[in-house]
């Protein structure tokens, strides 16, 4: 189910060394990859473990960034308080979305969460006195923290490490097992005594909490937030990263975020048709590795050990 411990430790060590060897522009790209890895893993908690695929996590992530930058710049609150408010705001928004959406599943869940995300985008676009409308909010949060690119990377890496560990514990906990049970059979879970909507609400809110942390990091990293941060494309690209890395693998989030963001950087220097390249990449993934990079690797590993991953059936 999960990557084994040595792989995880090797990955963490590698990520910690990145700023020592890369020029600062690439350190900034690496920081972005780490931030979006958290967003991607938070989406995977829902999509991969409960089987409910959300299309509103860009909105939850962006709301956190809005709250941080607004409370910091307009209210003049100290940054730790602004960050806590950002995470709380995202969690509350996720709780509200969950209350509205968890009784649906499949394509209805997808569409309902899409609509909820669009409402957030609409509010951010039109509520100009607060959100700044299309101009967005610009602050000097990062400057006031006095962080260089490498310093910021170190802070982000530390937070991402802790959050990743928390998410890993979350999906491997007794509660995480109930989510996998719900994915496999809701009716059975109810007859075993589980309140399925309650479990989904908790999972959704927890995923929103994690996405909120990603939003806080993004607020610091970017010092700017606008409606494009909460728009549908953000939710979709987060989901694409989760699929590219491998749905239900959790750590695939790092791979997915790396592949998509690195590809975007590489392609943008050559052509302006990034969305087209993204589309083609996604099609290729769906055809050749629908289980994602990590899922595919795991499949190849089990095959090489001569175990039939699909089982013998009945």
């Amino acid at each position: 189910m999960m990557l084994s411990r040595p792989y995880a430790l090797a990955g963490a060590a590698f990520l910690a060394c990145v700023p020592l060897v890369l020029p600062s522009y690439y350190v900034s790209v690496a920081t972005q990859i780490l931030i979006f890895s958290v967003l991607t893993m938070s989406i995977d908690v829902l999509a991969g473990f409960t089987g409910r695929t959300p299309l509103c996590f860009g909105a939850i992530f962006g709301t956190s960034a809005y709250v941080v930058l607004y409370t910091f710049s307009v209210f003049g609150w100290p940054w730790p308080l602004a960050m806590i408010c950002g995470v709380l705001g995202a969690s509350l928004l996720a709780l509200l979305f969950a209350a509205l959406a968890v009784r649906t599943s499949g394509v209805y869940f997808l569409l309902l969460t899409l609509a909820l995300g669009l409402i957030v985008w609409g509010i951010c676009l039109r509520w100009t006195p607060v959100t700044g409308g299309e101009n967005g909010l610009r602050t000097e949060l990062r400057q006031s923290l006095g962080l260089s690119a490498r310093g910021l990377y170190a802070c982000v890496a530390l937070v991402v490490g802790v959050v990743t560990f928390a998410m890993w514990r979350f999906v491997r906990s007794p509660f995480g097992l109930t989510l996998r049970g719900i994915k496999e059979g809701e009716g059975r879970m109810a007859s075993l005594g589980y309140d399925v909507p309650l479990h989904l609400t908790i999972a959704f809110t927890a995923a929103g909490f994690f996405a909120g942390i990603a939003g806080v990091l993004y607020a610091v990293f970017n010092d700017f937030v606008s409606p494009s941060t909460v728009q549908l494309a953000q939710s979709v690209s987060g989901l694409l990263m989760a699929i590219v890395g491998g749905i239900g693998t959790l750590f695939g989030g790092f791979v997915g975020a790396f592949v998509i963001i690195a590809l975007e950087q590489a392609v943008s220097s050559v052509t302006e048709r990034w969305p087209m390249v993204l589309g083609l990449t996604f099609i290729a993934i769906m055809i050749f590795a629908p289980e994602g990079v990590i899922g595919k690797a795991r499949l190849l590993l089990t095959k090489s050990h001569n175990i039939d991953p699909d089982g013998v059936g009945r």
Partner: protein, 259 residues
């Protein structure tokens, strides 16, 4: 006369114009084992669903241990000691036997809400799981991924999962459907050896299997109860032979199992 532990009164379930179950009353004593028989479309499964809470009846009452549960959700019934198996096996196929059992064991306890804890059972829960697996003939199979098991073993796991919460009422929905004769024999043995204080309702197509396992039989046809009697009376009841089998019981194959 002692009070019934499970009492259905005038249960009616309607799907559009069709009365799938029409004013059915049924009562079971504590520890009684009852089979509900009948041809396809007789309303057995619908009646079963009204007891488990998968559907709510349009009219009538379901009483369990003295309290009304007519419109209570399945998960709340589970907390009152009602467990069921499913006709179409819908176990958690991607998970191991141990994980399936962990989910079954935690369904009725608060430990299912441990958000960051270790995924281990308490000593008491582990003992319950071990006992349920032993009773279902699956001891030692904990690591097996469920979808790789044989159909018969999946049926056994169905029973094990229903047993782990130590229910007081167990509803078995065609537990032997689709099993080979030897698998049927094993399953019959498992059901026969269940604790005697467990009240049991069994829906089954295989009449010989059902009659060998129960104390009393309810025969349904067109949504109504037509006969309620002991297994030995059912074997000789002409009406049952007529509606249920359409013809007298024929010559048995020489290798047919005895239950």
């Amino acid at each position: 006369m002692p009070e019934a532990i499970l009492a259905l009164t005038d249960i009616t379930v309607q799907f559009g114009a069709l009365k799938a179950v029409n004013q059915v009353s049924l009562s079971l004593m504590a520890g009684e084992r009852r089979a509900v028989l009948g041809p396809n479309g007789a309303g057995k499964t619908t009646l079963f669903n009204a007891i488990t809470g998968a559907i709510f009846p349009n009219a009538g009452r379901v009483m369990w241990e003295g309290g009304e549960i007519t419109r209570m959700s399945p998960q709340r019934r589970a907390h009152r000691g009602v467990a069921r198996t499913f006709q179409i096996t819908n176990l958690f196929g991607q998970l191991s036997v141990a994980e399936n059992m962990r989910l079954a064991a935690r369904g009725l306890s608060a430990s299912k809400f441990a958000l960051f804890g270790q995924d281990r059972l308490s000593a008491a829960q582990s003992a319950q799981v071990a006992a349920a697996l032993a009773m279902s003939g699956l001891a030692g199979q904990e690591a097996v991924i469920v979808k790789t098991m044989s159909y018969g073993e999946q049926r056994q796991l169905e029973v094990a999962m229903a047993l782990v919460g130590t229910p007081r009422l167990l509803l078995l929905d065609e537990p032997a459907a689709g099993l080979s004769p030897s698998e049927r024999g094993r399953l019959a043995e498992i059901i026969r050896n269940l604790p005697r204080d467990l009240t049991l309702v069994l829906i089954e197509h295989d009449m010989d299997l059902a009659l060998a396992l129960v104390d009393s039989v309810t025969v349904m046809q067109n949504g109504q109860v037509i006969v309620e009697a002991s297994p030995s009376e059912i074997r000789t009841n002409a009406l049952v032979q007529d509606v249920y089998l359409g013809k007298p019981h024929e010559v048995r194959l020489s290798d047919a199992p005895t239950y």
